[in-house]
């Protein structure tokens, strides 16, 4: 057979592919019908909730919506195009044909096909003839389709139940005109006996008690009891008063002012140990303790970042963008960056938390010295060791020195002061200078605020770069690598 001519048996392949495509269409129709049914049943529920205003049309309308949605989904799925190469691949996978059908179908029509293609088509057809009927396309239940029984049941209940009374949707009107308008009839009648129900206060008293009370009011004689009983209940104090809403508002304002003053007082009831920052910090610590960024559950990290973003939105904090960046990094599969962003957001939360505590905290002056704005002054004035938990920079970086940057200047140090570069690639004999990597001073006893796991990756990269640039003598390479290896094992 010449490679230019048509290949015999290609229709057999096409028939198989068409069979699989039909299966795919069936599965799709099921899938989209379920989706359509779910959403249309929700629409039906809404219609049934509005049974009162819609009236007798509600039930047919709901039913029609449901049928239309389901049918629409079904037709959409059934008539969607299925590419034949995809169907061929499905067939290969379903019957274990090792890509024979897809390859044969693709190459059968190619002008540059090799003689082996003919043999491939023959082989594929021989195998297809022996195939047993099997479902090639799997059933995919949509997520929303799984919840279909809920709106369906709801719709059935609503259809059978009487119409749901809808709220009138009118708010009470407190305007002065309305007050006057309603007050007038009260003044006219001005008789409490007109009320069908006794007042709440009155309800507590039995009728006999009321009578006794009245008797005492009238001087205990009971002589005038023969008069109009309605007069007894005439509350002249109330009837003479017109409702004064303005004064009520004024009183409210005064109370609000009082509340504001109270807010200036030390907040003895607030528990600062459960501040937003502390809670989030605890969660982040629990999430990342002893784990590398790649070992941290992305789901939990995302939840934490989302919570931080929500808190940022709610509390007007400025860490929302960092949390969002972290989530973005997490989406992009970069847990390192996500952790860094989370750390930045945490720092901002802490700064705001401390700023919020200033003036109201129980620690008074000392706390005020910790605010973000006073940080800059710290180095110059009143920055004695007693006034600080630890110096800026200490506790953040292994090594000594104070750094203005929260991440320190490790790279600078390596670049600018290579400590032992006599001849490149060799180390000199004798004593060698090195950096003390142990934390000293007060910072030594304080837990680092910078997440170890968040920075170790950066440091390792810096080290790797430094080694690549050969700014570190070759003799030290293995030593440095071992050191970082040891850090990782910790």
């Amino acid at each position: 057979m010449s490679p230019e001519g048509p290949i015999e048996g290609a229709p057999t392949l096409e028939r198989l592919v068409a069979r699989v495509a039909a299966q795919v269409r069936r599965r799709r129709a099921e899938h989209y019908a379920l989706r359509g049914a779910f959403w249309s049943s929700i629409a039906a529920v809404v219609v049934l909730l509005l049974k009162t205003p819609i009236g007798g049309w509600a039930l047919p309308l709901a039913g029609g919506l449901f049928v239309a949605g389901t049918l629409g989904g079904l037709l959409w799925g059934a008539f969607k195009r299925t590419p034949s190469p995809d169907a061929a691949r499905l067939a290969d996978r379903a019957w274990g044909l090792e890509d024979r059908v897809a390859t044969a179908l693709e190459w059968a029509g190619r002008p540059d096909r090799t003689p082996l293609v003919d043999a491939l088509v023959t082989d594929a057809i021989a195998r297809i003839d022996k195939l047993e009927p099997r479902v090639a396309a799997r059933r995919v239940i949509p997520r929303d389709g799984r919840f279909l029984p809920i709106p369906l049941a709801l719709a059935v209940i609503l259809a059978l139940a009487p119409p749901v009374p809808l709220p009138s949707g009118r708010l009470p009107d407190f305007s002065a005109e309305t007050e006057d308008a309603t007050a007038e009839p009260r003044t006219d009648s001005s008789l409490l006996e007109d009320r069908k129900q006794p007042l709440a206060k009155d309800r507590m008293k039995s009728p006999s008690f009321e009578e006794r009370d009245f008797a005492s009011k009238m001087g205990g004689t009971g002589a005038s009891m023969s008069g109009d009983l309605s007069a007894i209940f005439k509350d002249t104090a109330l009837s003479s008063q017109r409702p004064d809403f303005q004064s009520f508002l004024k009183k409210g304002d005064e109370r609000l002012k009082l509340l504001e003053q109270a807010d200036r007082l030390p907040d003895l009831q607030s528990d600062f140990t459960t501040s937003q920052y502390k809670m989030v910090f605890k969660k982040s610590k629990a999430l990342s303790s002893g784990l590398r960024p790649d070992q941290i559950s992305p789901q939990k990290l995302r939840e934490l970042l989302e919570e931080m973003e929500r808190l940022g939105r709610k509390g007007g904090g400025n860490w929302g963008s960092d949390a969002a960046e972290g989530m973005e990094a997490l989406e992009g599969g970069q847990p390192d960056r996500a952790m860094e962003a989370m750390q930045r957001a945490l720092d901002k939360m802490r700064a705001q938390d401390e700023a919020g505590r200033s003036g109201k905290g129980l620690k008074g002056g000392r706390e005020s010295g910790r605010t973000g704005t006073s940080r800059d002054r710290r180095g110059g004035e009143g920055g004695g060791p007693e006034d600080q938990d630890f110096g800026e920079g200490e506790g953040l970086l292994p090594g000594k020195g104070r750094s203005g940057s929260p991440k320190g200047e490790a790279t600078q140090r390596l670049r600018s002061t290579p400590y032992d570069v006599g001849v490149e690639g060799e180390s000199r004999r004798g004593r060698k200078d090195g950096f003390d990597t142990n934390l000293t001073g007060r910072a030594g006893a304080t837990a680092s605020r910078l997440q170890y796991l968040g920075v170790i990756g950066q440091y390792r990269k810096m080290m790797e770069d430094a080694i690549t640039r050969e700014s570190v003598p070759r003799d030290f390479h293995s030593q440095i690598k071992d050191y970082f290896q040891a850090l990782d094992e910790r």
């Binding site: 190469p85 090792e98 890509d99 024979r100 044969a104 693709e106 043999a119 082989d123 599969g333």
Partner: protein
């Protein structure tokens, strides 16, 4: 001869040669298969393993099973390029006139065993580069073709690294496959003892000629590959590059350089041989998966973090293949995945 017969011939030859090698070599079925796949694909193979696992014996046995010339070079630090490729020497003709005559080195053979290749200096190692890629050697300004088929089988020891010169990436890339020879299982060890400590001498028959090997190489190139399988091969190679947008997290974190286009060629050519050896006329996704590790493990260069973390390159390649498969079906409906 029908195509079916040609393929059946190839299967028979492949299995016959494997059977001959297995007369001597116990176990290591995968290694033998991959060496044969490498040979039929027209590539070169690097075998890595601790001493005593039979790497050299395997290659020698393979050479015995083929009607091809075989040369062996034991690489040492003082080996010079001329020791491999040959040199011009002064010879005197019957008339008493002297002239240069090229004395070919051991590289001029069909099968070249480069034993402990990493013991020679980079200069000497690079003497093989041209031969491996171009199948010719240039000496004294003259290019001399190497005999066809030309097949380099090199061995190296991964633990005794003192005094060795790790192969440069450029040379590693020229090996179609890098195979890791593992330690035998206890049953295999027992069989090795039985087979090698008895008086019985095993003889290997020559079952294939060089011309036949070349013929099969042509047949292999005719094997069709579906576009989705080819796309998967390309995606696998791309996924080894940390800068690629769909690269898996493992590659981004632990890989410094990904595989070159030669890696894709190795993957597809190897897959074609594997398909034919199984009597199939087309390349399948499974072929690519089976050969991803041998074809890529020496082409994916770990960064410092990867080395410090002790990342197993085979596991990494496995993850890369998985992620490439996921990328290949990305955007497709669940029914069509």
């Amino acid at each position: 001869m029908t195509q079916d017969t040609r393929v059946r011939d190839f299967v028979a030859a492949f299995e016959g040669l494997r059977a001959e090698v297995e007369k001597v070599i116990v176990g290591h079925r995968d290694i033998i298969n991959h060496v044969l796949i490498g040979m039929f694909a027209g590539g070169h193979v690097l075998l890595e393993g601790v001493p005593g696992l039979g790497k050299t014996l395997l290659i020698k046995t393979l050479a015995e099973g083929l009607e091809l010339s075989f040369s062996r070079i034991q690489f040492t630090p003082d080996l010079m390029p001329a020791d491999i490729i040959g040199t011009n020497i002064i010879v005197e003709d019957p008339d008493g006139r002297k002239h240069f005559q090229f004395q070919p080195g051991p590289v001029f053979g069909h099968i070249l065993l480069a034993d402990e290749i990493n013991r020679a200096t980079p200069k000497t190692q690079s003497a093989l580069l041209e031969g491996m890629q171009e199948a010719s050697i240039t000496v004294g300004g003259a290019s001399r073709p190497l005999p066809a088929p030309f097949f380099v089988l090199a061995t190296q020891n991964p633990i005794e690294m003192e005094g060795t010169y790790p192969l440069p990436e450029a040379q590693l890339d020229r090996f179609l496959f890098k195979l890791r020879v593992r330690f035998p299982a206890i049953e295999e060890l027992n069989a090795i003892i039985d087979r090698t400590t008895q008086a019985r001498v095993v003889s290997v028959d020559r079952v294939m000629s060089g011309a036949k090997v070349l013929g099969f190489r042509e047949l292999i190139r005719e094997v069709p590959i579906a576009s989705h399988v080819r796309d998967l091969a390309s995606t696998i190679i791309m996924a080894t590059h940390p800068a690629w947008q769909h690269a898996p997290e493992a590659a981004r974190r632990f890989v410094r350089y990904g595989a070159s286009p030669r890696g894709a060629q190795a993957l597809v050519l190897g897959a074609k041989v594997r398909a034919l050896a199984e009597g199939r006329f087309n390349v399948s996704v499974e072929d690519l998966k089976a050969l991803a590790a041998p074809a890529l493990r020496h082409r994916v260069i770990l960064n410092f973090e990867g080395e410090a973390e002790g990342i197993d390159i085979d596991t990494l390649v496995g993850q890369i293949v998985e992620s490439a498969e996921a990328v290949a079906v990305q955007g497709k409906e669940a029914f069509l995945r």
